[in-house]
Amino acid sequence: MENVQTIEFDISGQICPSTLLVALREINRNINELNAGRVQLVFKTDNRDCTNTIPEAAGNMGLTVDVRKDDSCYTILVYKG
């Protein structure tokens, strides 16, 4: 099994729409690595609006998204499925 590097971003509490902007920026920055399956991105956020928007945005770029709720935060995993 290949080693997949996980890069985490904690954006909880930040001003709206930080989560979405950071997520889009980082996805674009790492798009090649993501597509090759070498990297997966994790975004930790408490922003509900962005949590609802990222999956479709990432989906449009050909990526898969898992959303999980941990305590008071949402953890969004973005990878090439």
Binding site: M1, G13, I15, V22, R48, N52, T64, D66
Partner: protein
């Protein structure tokens, strides 16, 4: 960093909005209506008795608990609904420029058109006794400037006036900073009020007329009917394309289209029970007045802005004369708006707490605190300049086609665009 490979078969974890949250929302509605019915039933015999026997002060005594209860319940419902549906008027304009997304704007249009229908029916059936609503004024060509500053401010603050309220309830610190900014901005306005008054006054046109219908001298049903007739086919088309529904991944999510309908209903109940739709920002001026009066009373006394009493109306249900303004007194403005403000904060807090999502995070990039403060100050200033905030104009003025509100919107769009540019260039990088 070693990471675990994605588990197979575990693709999108999608929380379908419909089941629990629609049920939850629909459960809210009868509760609100029943509470309102009970209040009216309770107050009616009491108030009729009192109005006959007592006058003045005692009428006010009966009106006060009614208003406090109504405002708080409406605010609670609004805050809860907005939190669950990520309803934010700032986001609606911001996302248009930031992500070329018009979804939220369609939802806003749904809210406005629904309010238009509800207000017009209520006016025709006599449920709304005061029309146009109190605190609406003749249009001024200076209004777009207020709208523009507000647009910049709400994007920088990460939320509009109500957005900042319910988000504060969920523990968002930038939103709390924005609220403080709103108070400060109102205080700054008090200093420039005489200058603005003359500028604004010179730019007033169609004096004595507030709505489009009044300006044209036609029945309000006509413009309302035209707007609705133009919008409904578009709505049906959007429905066919599935453009009203968005997938959700958060717990307890409420579909925005349902939130829009519920909020229109809340606006209607507010207009019937309190006398006007939701309005908030004069209270920030009042808060500023209270602080200034305590810290520098001599200077406070010199500011004419705080002595004005722009709110004067007869309560539609109890017949009490209510007067108020932005000064430090606990007057009609406080009676109408404070419960609403506290209710919205509490509604957001309740919604977040029930989901276990209430959390306060303090370690944020410093420029975000600055952005929120500047945004709040701009909103505070601009809402006084434009005689109302976005909620007041978009959800109260536009549905009855108040011209000042239309002009405010004209400025809001470029303002939101500019705010988005500033946000992406300087705040979130």
């Amino acid at each position: 960093m070693q990471g675990r490979p994605p588990e197979t078969g575990n693709s999108l974890t999608r929380h379908k909005a419909p089941a629990t949250s629609v049920t939850g929302a629909l459960l809210c509605l009868p509760t609100i209506l029943n509470a309102f019915k009970l209040i009216c039933l309770y107050c009616q015999p009491v108030l009729e008795f009192e109005i006959r026997i007592f006058t003045g002060r005692d009428q006010l005594m009966a009106t006060t608990p009614f208003m406090l209860l109504c405002g708080t319940l409406l605010g609670l419902a609004a805050g809860f609904i907005m939190h669950r549906s990520d309803f934010c008027l700032a986001g609606m304009f911001r996302d248009l420029f930031l992500f070329r997304s018009a979804f939220k704007l369609r939802i806003l249009l749904l809210l406005i058109i629904t309010s238009t229908i509800l207000f017009e029916i209520a006016r025709l059936t006599g449920l709304i006794r005061i029309y146009p609503f109190p605190l609406l004024s003749s249009p001024s060509l200076a209004a777009p400037l207020g709208g523009m500053l507000f647009g910049i401010g709400m994007v920088l603050a990460g939320g509009c006036v109500v957005g900042s309220l319910y988000k504060t309830g969920t523990g968002s610190v930038p939103s709390l900073v924005a609220l403080a900014g709103l108070v400060a901005g109102s205080a700054i306005f008090a200093e420039i009020a005489p200058w603005w008054s003359s500028v604004n006054g010179a730019a007033i046109f169609l004096k004595g007329k507030i709505t489009l219908a009044e300006a044209l001298g036609i029945n309000p049903s006509v413009p309302a009917g035209v707007a609705v007739a133009a919008a409904l086919p578009c709505f049906v088309l959007i429905c066919r394309r599935g453009g009203w529904v968005r997938p959700t991944y958060t717990e307890g999510a409420l579909q925005p289209w349902l939130a829009a309908l519920l909020l229109a209903l809340i606006g209607l109940i507010s207009a019937i029970a309190i006398g006007m739709p939701m309005g908030i920002t004069t209270s920030y001026a009042k808060a500023a007045a209270m602080v200034e009066a305590a810290l520098c009373p001599a200077h406070y006394e010199s500011l004419k802005f705080f002595q004005a009493m722009p709110l004067q109306y007869t309560h539609p249900l109890t017949g009490t004369l209510l007067r108020g303004g932005p000064g430090k007194e606990l007057d009609a403005v406080a009676l109408v708006q404070f419960p609403l403000i506290l209710g919205i904060i509490a509604g957001g807090a309740l919604s977040a707490s029930l989901l276990g999502e209430f959390s306060i995070r303090l370690k944020l990039p410093p420029r975000q605190y600055l952005s929120a403060a500047v945004g709040g100050i701009l909103m505070g200033l601009a809402s006084r300049m434009g005689a109302g905030c976005n909620v007041w104009h978009l959800l109260g003025g536009l549905p009855i086609m108040a011209l000042q509100s239309v002009l405010f919107l004209v400025g809001l769009l470029p303002g939101a665009w500019l705010g988005t540019r500033l946000l992406t260039r300087f705040v979130i990088r």
